[in-house]
């Protein structure tokens, strides 16, 4: 199945794109999507401890299971205001 990955700010700069489509196994978690992304872009690795995530524009957790067509977003520490 396929998911769309959304990346922002420094994560987007590292990958060079704000949106990627990737094939993931059925039953994959958000954490597995992130792990596969880190394999592809090892420079993302230091963000492991400080990112948060969202699925379909709702706050989520790394343990959440993703479904076909989901939009999975990884968010570096925020700095609004």
């Amino acid at each position: 199945m396929r998911v769309t990955i959304r990346l922002f700010a420094r994560l987007r700069d590292i990958v060079g794109a704000g949106e990627l489509v990737r094939e993931v196994p059925v039953g994959a978690t958000v954490g597995a999507v992130w792990a596969a992304l880190v394999t592809e872009y090892p420079e993302l690795s230091p963000y492991e401890k400080s990112i948060s995530c969202a699925v379909n524009a709702d706050y989520s957790r790394f343990a959440a299971i993703v479904a076909d067509g989901d939009e999975v977003a990884f968010l570096p520490p925020v700095s609004g205001g």
Binding site: R6, F8, A9, R10, D13, S50, I51, S52, A54, A57, D58, Y59, A73, L75, P76, P77, V78, S79, G80, G81
Partner: protein
Amino acid sequence: MVPLTAITTAPLDTGALVRALDPAGMGAVTTFIGLVRDHNLGRRVLHLEYEAYDALALRGLDLIVEEAAAQWPAVRLGIHHRTGRMEIGEASVAIAAASPHRADAFSASRYAIERIKQIVPIWKHEYFEGGDVWIEGATADPGNTEARDHALRIACA
């Protein structure tokens, strides 16, 4: 009438936000306006570019309004955050709180700005003399009760 929460690339209109609160019958309105500062950590800032995950950022603002309503039931709160390029002195965020009494209006405004900095997926890209850098603050986790309690303590100090 403008919505009470918004993520927008347009210049912020605090007056319109206050009117959207429909403050007739209230005793107090506080407004907070965050501006692009000309310096940061010893750097001379030239301009900022704000990026947001728009859909989730709007949900984040709505969540803050809900949290504030639970804490201060009589307060009506509005929050608009701007994204895109902003020059020094421009408003990046506008918060307005209407309340029967001033104390709750001040508290709810302060709570809102602290929570924005904790949980709303918006990022500052700072362009300064000699370079540029993404500013990274708090890990966005609305379920982190310790962070929420911290914001509440600041708001009620």
